[in-house]
Amino acid sequence: MNTPVHTSLVLRHSYFEATARSRVAQVLDAGSFREFLPPEVAQPSPHLAILDIPGAFDDGVIIGSAALDGKPVLVIAQEGQFMGGAVGEIHGAKIVGLLRRAALEKPAAVIFMVDSGGVRLHEANAGLIAISEIMRAVLDARAAGVPVLALVGGSCGAFGGMGIVSRLCSAIIMSEEGRLALSGPEVIETVAGVEEFDSKDRALVWRVTGGKHRYLTGDCAELVEDDAAGFRQGAIDVLAGRTEPLPSSTVLRAEQERLSSRRQRFAGMRDGLEVWAALGVPDPGQVSLIDRDSLVALKKGLPA
């Protein structure tokens, strides 16, 4: 008996909800992933054991080699469901090792699935130092000509030191669900008060730190749907024909100019709505409601 295949009924699997392992399996070419330091040869962190926390075999990050559209890549995927994706000694060292390997092997890219609140407080110093080492390793990989792509669309977003790391990458690909910032809204609210940042106002949080806002301001390169197919295609599109620029004062001067002039341009603003209006978006209130394709089209039509 022939059963018709209803392609229109293919289930969309949310990238936001997925585990790191399933993201790796779905974003990279099917069956291409080979894990480095797989769980069967690893032990949970002793720093967590001493604090009565069981830990995870992979310490919350999966690394390995794979292919993306037939091209060899190295992969990092943080597990946001484990301790907020936060960076500890082993977790951080796995990432540094992968990036150092990339500088030596020169794959077509590093695909870095960021899903992290930053430093793991239980290993605070180890985490902070590891993030500093990750920062240098990202820049070394890029200086070796290897693009490092940050994919931000998980429940933890990219915060703290991982927010800084993300902006050191060659490009950031975000979904609407993703968030990218430095301090978490809860921290800002705790210290500076609810007037400064009401962390329970989800719509506001996303207007300040979310994927659509970062896309409109150019802080991320691509906006994709919340599924593996979207991130996969986004990565392929960013890499197509890209040559990683060597570090130079010319490149950084341009970035300095961009950041300084927009600091002036958007001075005093506290909400994405104000920024979008200043960018020339005709109806800023609609940004949160329209779909990804519509927003991409809208951005294309904005004045330079």
């Binding site: 585990t19 392992r21 797989p38 769980p39 069967e40 949970p44 054991a49 009565d52 926390i53 069981p54 830990g55 995870a56 075999f57 597990e79 469901q81 484990f82």
Partner: protein, 104 residues
């Protein structure tokens, strides 16, 4: 945190590949790593769990699982962050399924 160790006799099972990992150590969740073990008709289990005092329940849940499925010739390692017995059973089934490549 509590460390628990169990050993159950069981019908032998063949892996499809090497090891299988299932689950994530999130709140109310657990990860299970199942690998080939030394004794063909026994399964050894090591559990690291965030909660204390549930040893008897762990023993009962895993024993029940081992009685219904062939898990001999394996060693199982679990990192648990407060999963309920129902979730534990579910994950054990998933882990075994991954380990055997769905053949059982």
């Amino acid at each position: 945190m509590e460390n628990l160790e169990f050993r159950f006799t069981a019908q032998p099972v063949k892996p499809a590949a090497g090891a299988a990992l299932c689950g994530v150590v999130g709140s109310g969740n657990l990860e299970i790593l199942i690998r080939p073990g030394d004794e063909a008709d026994a399964c050894t289990v090591v559990v690291k769990t965030s909660a204390r005092g549930f040893g008897k329940i762990w023993e009962a849940v895993i024993a029940e699982f081992a009685s219904r499925h062939p898990v001999g010739g394996t060693r199982i390692a679990i990192n648990d962050m407060g999963a309920t017995p129902a979730v534990v059973s579910l994950r054990l089934g998933q882990a075994l399924g991954d380990y055997t490549g769905g053949a059982q």
